[in-house]
Symmetry: D2
Subunit: 212 residues, 4 copies
């Protein structure tokens, strides 16, 4: 059974408050972690937005992308969950995406971001293997890869994650729309993604063998 109190990083049995940005927990949130007492200065230290902004232009950041799906008994995907948000340029679709924190395992980042976007009872089946189906390289310059992020260079490990529980839009999301794999690959959906995430959804659908 899954416990109601979810963990982030290596902190077991403790609910970690996650900020609006899902990116900036303070070190006091993990008072008992062994790495808190490691000899490195500023180990996992809290960063302010300005500090992170500076880093965004100096090194690529590690991200995870998750495409939430519903599957039947045979593992066949029946629906793909896409978030609908109101942005500056109107309604946009997106997948679950977010940064991996200092000292956080990839699988814990995946769980944290899915729960941040789909709610605490989405019950995701985080993959047993760290092998992603692809690596999406979001560059600040468009055209070098299919992916683009004007803010930063992000290297994102992409996973298809079946969810079995109840999914509710969180924070700034208006809705979670469940499309068939074919609809999710269609041109209508593709026009509503930004940064190349439509291409990533198509790559995911190709990987599961449901390319339209």
């Amino acid at each position: 059974m899954r416990a109601a109190g979810r963990r982030v990083g290596a902190a077991r049995g403790k609910i970690i408050p996650v900020s609006m940005h899902g990116e900036l927990p303070r070190p006091d949130d993990w008072p008992n972690e062994p790495w808190r007492n490691s000899p490195q200065p500023n180990s996992g230290g809290w960063m302010g937005p300005a500090e992170l902004d500076a880093i965004r232009h100096q090194v690529p950041l590690v991200y995870v992308d998750a495409i939430p799906v519903r599957t039947d008994n045979s593992g066949d995907v029946t629906a793909v969950g896409l978030l609908l948000r109101m942005g500056e340029r109107g309604l946009t679709r997106s997948i679950v995406s977010g940064r991996v924190l200092y000292h956080e395992r990839v699988r814990d980042a995946l769980l944290r971001h899915i729960e941040k976007d789909l709610g605490p009872v989405a019950l995701p089946q985080i993959p047993a293997s760290p092998q992603p189906f692809t690596v999406a390289e979001y560059l600040p310059t468009p055209g070098i890869t299919p992916f683009h992020d004007p803010r930063q260079h992000a290297v994102s490990l992409a996973y298809v994650v079946p969810v079995t529980g109840d999914c509710q839009p969180q924070q700034d999301a208006l809705e979670i729309a469940w499309l068939t794999p074919e609809e999710a690959c269609g041109d209508a959906a593709a026009a509503e993604f930004v940064g190349g995430q439509g291409a990533l959804v198509r790559q995911a659908m190709a990987w599961i063998g449901r390319f339209g």
Copy 2:
């Protein structure tokens, strides 16, 4: 929710009786399948053991191998399920393994063999993607690959499959032992496998990042 009546192949909503060998359902089990009326003679026709034995020496057979695991909320594997059987050479460990039938999808074969070996309420999470973590080539001549099957040449698609339900040994299995990934890779366990399945378990543990 998962229905109690499980399906094999494309037959939905119908419980298919599976023989002792899990390999020889008769065509009458699928009276309404469209391919029943296909123009090919003997399409999906029932084979007797002698017929299958002849084929075993003429073409490689398609198999699936499944390594059942328990995972935590983050997808980390906590235990590996190994079947314990009494064979001619004493107690042996094995993983879930079996043939893909004519006109059966790989994912349906995977589900069928897991339920045949672990029982009807094992609730396996069949992978969304057909990409296996490896392909195990069991040859009748030892030493060409790490895998060996004196009866036949089998090309087996290997998957790690999390199970969330209750697993009970079926048919000729005495027990399902749940080992840690490190125990499952250990020399003690390795000595009890046959045909190279110990190497396959190690490959699976390496793929999930838990190589001992």
Copy 3:
């Protein structure tokens, strides 16, 4: 350096005559193979077309599919090689595809079929790992999977294979056309494939990150 005389299966340093169908070498072609003397009756025995036709309706056959590509120094795909053939229904495009023989390793089958279709100096870089990018299930009934083969049920391990040498159309192929990944995924190309191979090319391009 690669020898001019190519091998099939484990037969080194010997040119194996391959029939028009690329599927039916006779056992006499491998007089020195150890498995020739194995105790199994009919081990790897020669099959006539009628015998293979019967098997085609009884078990799924193991196939390999290869998408030949040209890459630059960074491994980025610059061109995809598609075979152009004149068939009953006019010109069709296809990828390299063929059966895995009894007692033949998957990697040897891959090499054999690439050389059969692209010529003996194509110099393919056969993947080091047996993990395919997908498994294509060609069923005799259309609509169950994206792949269809009216003759048989084939389970095909699909690989992207860079080729560095000179490729010449063999046998019944008229031409090898080199398209960009985007062209190979386009609707114009898609219309010229049969059996769903256009979907497989798109899956391959998605896997290499060049989905248009």
Copy 4:
């Protein structure tokens, strides 16, 4: 043919001087890159060692790990290349490993680090797909994953890379030793790795199907 002048990132036809650390090219090395004129302040700006040290304790860094191998015509691995270095704790073995720079593609980082460690004529076959065989998470705290780096948290995309040219030890490496897959997985070799790279070599060998 491969040009003698190698590129880094998107800079074609230009030899980029790489520093001793292989990590700190100055932006003046890419005077014509479009992202040089992007509006972000400090875009891809040069970092001094102190600046990078600070970042090492704030975010995970993106790395690539490459296991160089020799393969035969069928893609089967015949030898694994391991670097021998003299470190503080005596002789150590290592694989090719290094950081992905701001605005550098993963495949270009892979090429750059392989040439940095194996020399300019190693002729690596960089994989066509960005899908790594695993993701190695090097944490500053030992025991959380199999990988450990006291300096930083690195998330490393791991690839097996066949090399076809001449490999010569560079910089501080004494030798490149070519071991069989079985030797590379052995306990003798394992004792000479640091940071868990021995486990990564075993994972690589398991992935190619040559787990000892």
